[in-house]
Amino acid sequence: MSWHTDVDGTAYLVNELLPVTEAEAEAYYKAANTLYDMYVEAAQHVIDNDLFFELDIPFNLISLIKRSWENDDLHLYGRFDFAGGLDGLPIKLIEFNADTPTGLFETAVVQWALLKANGMDGESQFNTVYEAIQNNFRRLVTGLENDPAHFGEHYRYQNILFSSMANLPEDERTVKFLQQIASEAGFQTDFAYMGDVGFSEQEGVFKGDTRFDYWFKLFPWEDVALETDGITGILDEISRNNAGTFLNPAYTLLFQSKGILKILYELFPDSPYLLETRVEPLQGKKQVSKTMFGREGANTAIIDTMGKVLKEIPGEYGNYTKVYQEFAEFPQDGEGRSYQAGVFFAWEGCGLGFRRAWDIHDNMSKFVSHRIV
């Protein structure tokens, strides 16, 4: 397990429980549900108007994205990042990590275990991540309209292969956790590193001789698109031949692209959850610039009202187009550290966790658990 210590040696988990009122939890839950519906409308708008270019979507993924959208492939889970929500600050959408969200295990299990370990059995959390994702797995066979509890009546031995990169233990941990949830949901499952997975355009996804109906990969779609060995075309063919289904679906890249923040703002300018977001710098406003597919704070800069860069985190996503998002206030503690809420979404809002950092929430920020007071 590697999720407990950051590479700088400091503890990634903070042994504190942030108090959250039930009303605050309720507001986070509603925000996630409302925003998801808005994302679905925005994605439909992108597809209908062929705006993939505005979102920096790689051209070789467009048919995969469209097909996964038309097939209504199930979005297993994602994580909204919010500013505000505590201390009377309004909830503002920062972004939606829809394709390969991190922090799943911490939110679902570790913060729950922190309550248990402190003997706080009677305490509550906004945390139904485990059962929400389990139900979503079951919807793969019951269909989206039916009660996932009827899984047993629909199950025809469908199986799911789970994959992560071999050299990334944190990702492997997350994927094996998802595999456990799927197994307990009733599926046959297996795990293989990304490099060991076999593909056939006609037959689908394999581990050894075993074919799998579903393939969950913790590997960003925009990085799939950069592979130069033809894998994108093979995956496209597999999907065209209905020989396999990929999780999360390719259309989650539309949600993941920060270009969608601009589309959302154009479609819903009056939404209380949205910050002004444009592809050109905002005039006279404190703002944050980010790239279309920057992850964990990389290639992010905070810019003041005069256009001066206050803080910048370099990264490897500099080739992507930038968006400029109005700066939002984060709740802060007495030491000046800010708290960003992460709300997991699996069919509905299902779990809350916080990341604490000094200003930009990057991969050195700390996970903070919560309890409902």
Partner: protein, 215 residues
């Protein structure tokens, strides 16, 4: 009004079996010293190994009523003494403290002495065990010390009960089934498949330097 997405920590089913291993690993969190809840991988393993000598955490499921029968579903080493979660037929979950477990185990041990307990009788087909019998078969070593435990361990019928009880638990813990051994009708030869993508046999992958592919 109760919010369905807000859960009390007591609910065992919220996170499945995995949570309890984490509880064991998080020992020391209650001291509020601000220390990291977990040390290195090695320390964590040590703490679990130490815990194993101290106690166990069990999940016991009621399997029948009149007469009430029980089965050990899961068992983990625990740093905080021996405790159990009892899941009754109607879905209720209740924590049995170490004191309660000891009391039940000792009462059962008395029944063993007087020859009333099934634990020293041969294992019968489809036999269900009472709560006390289940607890004693699951964790005799942790709950009753000394002579009596030793005497029990020497009884071959008890050994068989103990074996069966723990086997059931371990089989429920290994939830990952191997699809290759299943009757999955879609298994086919892999003659037409290609692998080695995503850095499987080369460095062709786009190689992000991040510690995770996540966001």
């Amino acid at each position: 009004m109760a919010k369905h997405y807000i859960k009390k920590a007591i609910s065992y089913s919220a996170v499945g079996g995995l949570g309890f291993t984490i509880v064991a690993a998080l020992q020391g969190c209650g001291d509020n010293t601000g220390q990291p809840p977990m040390g290195s991988q090695d320390q964590r393993q040590d703490s679990i190994a130490d815990a194993a000598q101290q106690g166990v955490f069990m999940v016991i499921q009621q399997t029948g009523a009149n007469p009430d029968t029980y089965e050990l579903k899961e068992k983990y080493p625990s740093s905080e003494g021996t405790r159990a979660i009892l899941k009754t037929l109607d879905g209720d979950e209740r924590v049995l403290s170490e004191a309660e477990l000891k009391e039940l185990a000792e009462a059962e041990a008395q029944r063993v002495e007087s020859g009333e307990s099934q634990l020293t009788h041969p294992v019968a087909e489809n036999q269900g065990l009472s709560l006390g019998e289940t607890i004693l078969a699951s964790a005799a070593g942790a709950l009753i010390g000394g002579m009596l435990a030793n005497k029990l361990m020497g009884n071959s019928n008890f050994q068989r009960h103990q074996q069966q009880t723990n086997q059931r638990a371990s089989s429920s813990m290994s939830s990952t089934r191997n699809p290759a051994q299943s009757n999955n009708a879609s298994n086919r030869g892999s003659s037409g498949t290609r692998s080695g993508f995503f850095g499987g046999n080369s460095n062709s992958t786009s190689g992000r330097s991040s510690s995770s592919m996540g966001s």
